[in-house]
């Protein structure tokens, strides 16, 4: 079995040095109309390349573009759809990060590529395999305000978003994505809607071509819904273990039909995990995971950490993997 070091999704876009703060300055210049759209894009492009390189250097075998171009994980995707306006700020789960809330005014429709162009750029730039990330239909729907009678029924919105996202999944697969991450943190707060999520993911699954779909949940305990998640039409399940103390036992008892993404390293706190924290969990879980690849990733996007700590976490993941394999060999 191969342990693949993967980034989760987002990555800090500023760091301590002036050079690492160039995107922040570019945003401010854009607000003041002092930078052309082309020049602004160039700053974003260069930063995407930089964070991809940084992830690879830290040992990541599967990198992301760091979601450097995203305002947040909700409005970046929803804001590109027809009949969606972007509203005020709302807290993103239990973090200290705020997203802009979409307001749905009529049928949501595809209008332009969501992330496939970003993926193409990242793929061209990266020496490592790149994983595109999409926010899932259920989480997008939960985060939105429905201001149209068309969506009096919540599930209709979820299914319409599913159709739009399926088109993007297909585009990503065609563009060469091997793993496509779909994020559905909101389902952990609303487990009663798992049948709806199952239905919504079917279209995405049908559109995936030869790519593997990875469903990632975080900021909640997946153990109580683990069996139901195993039924979803995806090939990989990613978990945030920092919220789920009983999840390793659950996996050991129930087993897994799917590859797993193990979020054993806390993407929300600066404390550096030790072998003592991580190895027992790996030993408990790994014998029960089928397939050739297990992904070792942070528990969530790394943007909740300062840049220096994000690099340190990825480096730590690499060191832990090496030490773990060494110990097994020994």
């Amino acid at each position: 079995m191969e342990l693949c070091l993967a980034n989760h999704s987002s990555y800090p876009r500023v760091g301590a040095s002036r050079e690492q703060q160039r995107l922040r300055r570019a945003y401010a210049q854009r607000e003041r109309g002092e930078i052309s759209p082309e020049a602004f894009n160039q700053v974003q492009d260069s930063l995407v390349a930089e964070v991809i390189e940084e992830q690879a250097h830290a040992g990541c075998e599967l990198v992301t573009d760091g979601q450097i171009r995203w305002y947040d994980s909700i409005s970046h995707v929803a804001g590109k759809l027809a009949h969606v306006e972007i509203n005020g700020l709302l807290r993103y789960f239990d973090t200290n990060f705020y997203f802009r809330q979409p307001v749905i005014t009529a049928n949501v429709e595809w209008r332009e590529p969501l992330v496939v162009e970003e993926f193409r750029y990242a793929k061209r730039t990266s020496v490592r395999s790149v994983k595109p990330v999409l926010t899932g239909p259920y989480t997008l729907a939960i985060a939105s305000i429905r201001q149209t009678p068309v969506y009096g029924d919540f599930s209709t919105l979820v299914m319409d978003l599913s159709a739009v996202l399926a088109r993007e999944v297909n585009a990503l697969a065609t563009a060469g994505a091997e793993v496509i991450q779909v994020e559905e943190p909101a389902i952990l707060q609303h487990p009663q809607d798992l049948p709806l999520l199952q239905q919504a993911l079917t279209a995405l699954s049908e559109a995936r071509g030869s790519a593997r779909l990875a469903l990632y949940t975080y900021f909640g305990d997946a153990a109580p819904v683990y069996e139901a998640l195993q039924e979803l039409p995806v090939q990989i399940l990613g978990f945030d273990f920092t919220y789920a103390p009983k999840l390793p036992d659950k996996i050991a008892t129930v087993g897994s039909q799917k590859s797993l993404g193990l979020g054993l390293i806390d993407g929300r706190n600066t404390r550096m995990e030790t072998a003592k924290d991580v190895f027992p969990l790996l030993e408990k879980v790994l014998p029960h995971v089928p397939g050739e690849i297990v992904y070792l990733n942070p528990s969530c996007g790394l943007e909740y950490l300062p840049r220096d700590k994000a690099v340190a976490k990825l480096t730590l993941l690499k060191e832990l993997k090496e030490a773990f394999l060494q110990e097994r060999k020994g």
Binding site: P12, R13, V14, G15, A16, R24, Y27, A28, E31, Y71, D72, L89, R91, D94, N96, F97, Y98, F99, R100, N269, T270, R271, M272, E303, Y304, L305, P306, R307, D308, K309
Partner: protein, 335 residues
Amino acid sequence: MSRARLERVGLTLPLLPTSTVGSFPKLDYVLEARAKFARKEMTRKELDALERQATEFWIEQQEEIGLDVLVDGEQYRGDMVAYFADIMDGFEMGGLVRSYGNRYYHKPIIVGKVKRPGPITVTWWKFAQGLTSKPVKGMLTGPYTIMDWSFNDYYPDRKAACFALATEIRKEVESLVEAGAKIVQIDEPALSVRPEELHFALEAMHIVTDGIPAYFITHICYGAFEFIYPKMLDLPVDNFDLEMSNSGLDLISLFEKDPFTKDLSFGVLDVHSHVIETPTIVRERIEKALQVIQPEALWVDPDCGLKTRAVEEAQGKLRSMVAAVRELRETGISR
């Protein structure tokens, strides 16, 4: 109920006491001075003098506007958590973290045992109280919020970090009360974020306030109150200061279901809007509150700190608020 508590600490306040949540807009010369200080172009002493001057300005303003319970205006504070983390032992300032859009902040890291090196806010409180005969609130950030808004490298878990902070914040409360503060506000805006942790946030507040002879207020804003209400009423404080205007007064319906049993500081001014509410609008908001709260238990204030507003906006909003309250007091308050 807490009128008796107020009397016990020696305070008699009019009906519908007016106050503010804590911060006022920083005056231009303070902003400039703080920037210079950060660039090491100004000494601590020079900065202090200007911050005192600005505090005097805001005390005068509050008296002139006619507020009943005053604050020092926090001209000398930046972020409400970083201010305490900067002064307390056991913290290190972390790198930049994004809060939204293009906004970033330095998030503190707990790297050792947290410890109050000595009184943190007492000198400022004494200075402000020395300028007025009206009561000035002692203003602190609560242990749960300091914990939640910091990284934790040192304590085994969030609860342990929270309790350690609670012990230190209690010392600050004791110092404030010893210095003469009768009202102490302990802000816990993070309280509603993780309902599953409410039980230890409550315990932490017990550590902070139990047995101390003061009237305690806690300010909570932008929360999902529906998940922590009515359990949050168990928080050992006398008064909850809640943001009401920005959330469309949704909380009223919660109080209709489960009666609010403490004093309530009812936010009647939207601090994120440039629009200056008219006294009529403020009065309507207060009347809504009076449908679910006894007049004796109701205080009136803005939704949150006014530091995000321009000086004139803050003044204008507060004048409307005081005008509405005076009108209500004169015409009689009925439920």
